[in-house]
């Protein structure tokens, strides 16, 4: 360990490929363009006050979702490149190294920098409104979570152009990812991008756990919480238990790589298989972290658009808790083929299959929510409906994979690849889309355009199945994942070509979704009244967008899990209008999170390049900002005065009258 050793990687600035040069050009153009326009229109102050220092959960949610969409673009572009390379045998679009980097970044980005922030963004937008809270329990910590995630994502994405990307797969198995077999900075980028973002996620878990337990409106008992809030509570518990494992695991490999420790090395008593265990002890709960909130979204959306109360609310809660428990006792099924012995494999086969039981209960309860309902199919419902058959395909193949001896034949093949894309896209991505469409007219005062959105939906759904159904077949034909090319005589060509067509269709679907957003921002009808879907839960009882304090009066008539629906049935308001307005206690904006995360970026960059002096300066900065913040704690909150609340209400009234 030498503080002043500034060793350079083989290549600092990556320029060896036309694609990467293209990326450089677009990064520089985009950065210059952003700086130019923000400066020209004098928006720096606005950005700093309203976004960079905000602690408002709705704005943080929007930033999370925006970042997730950007990462979806990056990860999706990786996917398109891979599918292009595999469209035909012996293609030369990507060389082996480049392909290996791209499948690694695709997986890592999609799980950790797309699915996670998308889900957490929706939690931020939805949960406080659903439980009648004015913000989360720890608003500044929430901003810290976001900026740590953002910095983690930036560190990870930087690898593409500076120093070289990680190339050992998103599972990053040792000994391949150890410093002997993969020297250089790529794996360090993986370790530090995930480490920084992971700390932010852990804080999010604690934050939402406390928020939901402590900040519900009067009358909202645990068993009257909306299903999305329930799923967030359960997810928070999983995060709190699973993410420390990731933190430790990444730290151990960091010690191996940077300081010559031997936790995972082949020799000197290290245990490579321990990585697989630790990684999946975090990794399996992790996939439930991204799927359970999606289940919550589907529950809320389906009961809203079937115009019917959720079927079997208690069973839905119990099954979710059961899934969260099982999620911690199935991790070995990711490596049945590592010689665990028949007893271990048998037990983990059974625990894995058992997950089908609570999940099956949920599927039938969703179906029977719609049974005898009055089903309408706007965009959020379309994504929720598509989820049921697609996720089911992923689910039943999951049960097949759970059978250890059969898994000997599926493991690491395209059968597996197809399975997890069916559950992750069919579950999480569809859920994110449903949630985005569902809450968009709550975050803003307009819906997303239905016509473009339906085109986007159908092209994406068709593309998705065209891309991934054939993967089951090539998988059974013996095609392994993570190969950058194949020979024509393997007989995989036709299905691979079909898959590539599907991937391009999904790309078009994504572009159309972005187009729907842009089009709607400019053309869609504005409506601030706040209940565009005839919603059932609290968030629809307040105007769109809600004032920054969410509720001018606290909701007071919560007697069921569908309080707003019931109130509307009774012809009542959720709020006691006779109650006089009172000043509202709210948190102040704070610059600490973004500054601290900036130092974290410096620390991360230093550790990636093993420039320890810079790394320690960054860490000192992180600690310094925390100390600084602790001294300005008296400046953390303020009261929103009654006059301001009245002004907001008058403004809303004017807008509603102007509309009619």
């Amino acid at each position: 360990m030498d503080l002043f050793n500034f060793k350079m990687p083989e290549q600092f600035i990556i320029m060896n490929n036309p694609l990467i040069i293209g990326a450089w050009i677009s990064i520089i153009l985009a950065s210059v363009g952003i700086v130019f326009f923000v400066t020209k229109y004098k928006k720096w102050g606005y950005l700093w006050r309203e976004w960079f220092t905000t602690v408002d959960h709705k704005k943080i949610g929007v930033m999370y979702i925006l970042a997730a969409l950007l990462m979806l673009f990056r990860g999706g572009f990786d996917a398109i490149l891979m599918r292009t390379q595999l469209a035909l045998p012996d293609m030369k679009v990507l060389d082996a190294q480049h392909y290996n980097e791209i499948f690694t970044t695709h997986g890592t980005i999609m799980i950790l920098f797309m699915a996670m922030p998308f889900i957490i963004g929706l939690m931020n937008v939805g949960v406080p409104l659903q439980i009648g809270a004015r913000d989360v329990a720890f608003p500044v910590l929430n901003a810290v979570s976001f900026w740590l995630f953002f910095v983690g994502a930036m560190v990870f994405n930087l690898s593409f152009v500076i120093g070289g990307s990680p190339d050992a797969g998103w599972t990053n198995y040792v000994p391949l990812s150890g410093s002997e077999l993969t020297p250089g900075v790529g794996i360090n980028y993986y370790l530090w991008g995930l480490q920084i973002a992971g700390i932010g996620t852990l804080a999010t878990g604690i934050n939402f756990f406390v928020t939901i337990l402590k900040m519900r409106a009067p009358g909202m008992t645990l068993l009257r919480m909306p299903m999305f809030t329930w799923s967030t509570l359960v997810t928070s518990v999983i995060i709190i238990f699973a993410f420390p494992v990731l933190t430790i695991t990444l730290a151990l490999l960091t010690f191996d790589r940077l300081f010559g420790a031997h936790f995972f090395t082949i020799d000197a008593g290290g245990m490579p298989m321990m990585w697989a265990n630790l990684f999946w002890i975090w990794g399996h709960p992790e996939v439930y972290i991204v799927i359970l909130p999606a289940f919550g979204i589907f529950s809320d959306v389906i009961s809203t658009f079937a115009r019917k109360r959720l079927f079997g609310y208690h069973a839905m809660v119990i099954s979710m808790v059961a899934i969260s428990g099982l999620s911690f006792v199935v991790w070995v099924h990711h490596f049945f083929t590592m010689g665990n012995g028949p007893w271990i494999n048998s037990i983990f086969s059974i625990t894995t299959m058992l997950i089908a039981v609570p999940t099956g209960v949920k599927v039938f309860n969703w179906l029977f929510t719609m049974y005898k309902g009055r089903i309408e199919t706007p965009a959020p419902m379309l994504w929720s409906l598509a989820f049921i058959p697609n996720f089911l395909i992923g689910g039943v193949t999951g049960v097949m994979l759970a059978s250890a001896p059969a898994d000997y034949q599926y493991h690491n093949s395209y059968f597996l690849v197809s399975h997890f894309h069916y559950v992750l896209i069919g579950g999480t991505v569809f859920g994110c889309m449903a949630g985005l469409y569902y809450w968009w007219p709550k975050i803003f005062d307009f819906k997303l355009n239905e016509r473009i959105s339906k085109w986007a939906f159908w092209i994406f759904i068709v593309g998705f199945n065209v891309c991934f159904l054939p993967m089951y077949l090539v998988g059974l034909q013996g095609m392994p994942r993570r190969i950058y090319t194949y020979k024509a005589e393997m007989g995989w060509t036709m299905w691979n070509f079909v898959q590539t067509i599907g991937a391009y269709l999904m790309g078009i679907g994504f572009i159309l979704i972005v187009w729907a957003i842009i089009y709607s921002i400019r053309h869609e009808k504005r409506d601030r009244s706040g209940d565009p879907w005839h919603g059932r839960t609290l968030e629809w009882a307040i105007p769109s967008p809600p004032p920054h304090y969410n509720f001018s009066r606290m909701p007071s008539r919560i007697t069921s899990a569908d309080p707003y629906w019931d109130a509307k049935k009774r012809g009542e308001s959720m709020f006691d209008e006779n109650e006089p307005l009172k000043p509202i206690h709210m948190p102040n904006n704070d610059g600490m999170p973004i500054v601290m995360s900036g130092f974290m970026f410096i620390a991360g960059f230093g550790f990636v390049f093993e420039w320890l002096l810079i790394a320690f300066i960054g860490l000192l900065g992180v600690i310094g900002t925390m100390v600084w913040r602790s001294f300005k704690d008296y400046d953390a909150d303020h009261y929103v005065q009654v006059e301001e609340i009245e002004r907001d209400q008058a403004e809303l009234q004017a807008s509603l009258e102007g509309r009619s």
Binding site: A96, Q97, Y173, P175, L176, E180, L181, T182, I266, D267, M271, M273, K308, R309, F311, G312, Y313, H314, T337, G339, N340, G341, P342, S346, S349, M353, G360, V361, L367, F368, M370, Y371, K372, G373, R374, I375, E376, I388, P389, V396, V399, M400, A402, S403, P405, A406, Y408, Q409, N412, S413, K454, W458, N465, L469, L473, L476, Q477, G478, R482, I483
Partner: protein
């Protein structure tokens, strides 16, 4: 937009998906669905059994889904239809909890029995042959301890004879997979594991490394040729007679990262024998218990001697791993 509004495409898409799932598996007759030995056959049977059960679930849910979507679309219902306010139905919910449990039992039992079966020789009354398969970046090395020969990137086995593959890795973890003969097992450094395979009849099969190992992972394919016992014996004799001997140096060179073509050797150096694990007392399930007894010793001091990293570290006081290791071992043996 018209067809979308009518919803016809949705049903077409759903029907298409079902047909693809149900019928799609039929035309393929290579790989996993083309078992050519008892191990692959057993796994194939399990796959088909679970696929049948899963298809039943798929059909039930898809039919329910379609029926509900058709019957209860808002556009199909009268204007004043008001959905009932029902909380749930305990009986129904118990039914659809119980059915998945039964299905789990139906798949679980053959899963467990097969899991234990695969630990044993597929044909216990036949005398097996042992072949050591070692993965290195980016080639497969096959050693025949009984015959004393070595091949690279191809392997020949006697048909109708159970083969005990002793799997290990020189560096990164790989996975040894010959789909038509049976499922895979990982190759790991310092943790040799056993995989039983057997070919029913003579034939040629594609095998490959199935766990990512870096740059030329895609090229880690090998052919497995099952021959009649007499043909196999004469092939061994021919290798013994015509192929060169492999020196220590040549073997070391072979292990260095890179790709090579097919190679054959009439002998291999002692250091090439599959190393035994370095952790006494660790029970690696995949390993033969009786083999553990006659493990000569955990000799890995030789390993990675030429590694440059090691040189740096040997300067550090107290960091001499090779020495530390041996001391540890000695005390444990006592």
């Amino acid at each position: 937009m018209l067809p979308f509004r009518k919803g016809a495409w949705k049903w077409l898409a759903v029907a298409g998906m079902m047909m693809a799932i149900l019928s799609g598996c039929e035309p393929i007759k290579t790989g996993v669905l083309n078992p050519k030995g008892p191990v692959a056959q057993q796994q194939y049977d399990l796959i088909v059994w679970s696929a049948v059960l899963m298809s039943i679930i798929l059909i039930v849910v898809f039919v329910l889904f379609v029926v509900i979507m058709v019957r209860f679309r808002a556009s199909k219902l009268s204007k004043d239809y008001e959905p009932p306010d029902e909380k749930g139905n305990t009986f129904l919910e118990i039914v659809w909890t119980a059915i998945p449990v039964l299905i789990v039992i139906a798949i679980g039992i053959p899963t467990v029995t097969t899991t234990f079966d695969l630990e044993k020789s597929p044909s216990p009354n036949k005398k097996p042959i042992t072949i050591e398969a070692t993965s290195a970046q980016w080639k497969w090395i096959f050693k025949y301890p009984e015959q004393g020969i070595e091949t690279v990137n191809y392997v020949k086995i006697p048909a109708n004879v159970p083969v005990r593959f002793k799997l290990s890795s020189h560096d990164a973890m790989n996975s040894f997979w010959v789909p038509e003969l049976g499922g895979q097992e990982y190759t790991m450094a310092d943790m040799p594991m056993t995989l039983w395979l057997e070919a029913d009849k003579p034939g040629k099969f594609q095998g490959r490394g199935n766990n990512f190992t870096g740059r030329d992972f895609a090229k880690m394919v090998f052919t497995v040729e099952a021959k009649k016992q007499s043909d196999f014996d004469s092939w061994v004799a021919q290798i013994k007679k015509t192929a060169p001997k492999q020196s220590e140096k040549e073997y070391k060179k072979l292990l260095k990262p890179g790709t090579v073509g097919l190679q054959s050797y009439s002998s291999y150096p002692k250091s090439a024998e599959v190393k035994n694990p370095n952790m006494p007392g660790m029970n690696h399930g995949g390993m033969d218990k009786d083999e553990m007894k006659d493990m000569p010793g955990m000799d890995h001091s030789k390993k990675k001697k030429d590694d440059k990293k090691k040189d740096d570290m040997e300067d550090m006081p107290g960091m001499d791993h090779s020495k530390m290791k041996d001391d540890d071992m000695d005390s444990e043996k006592d």
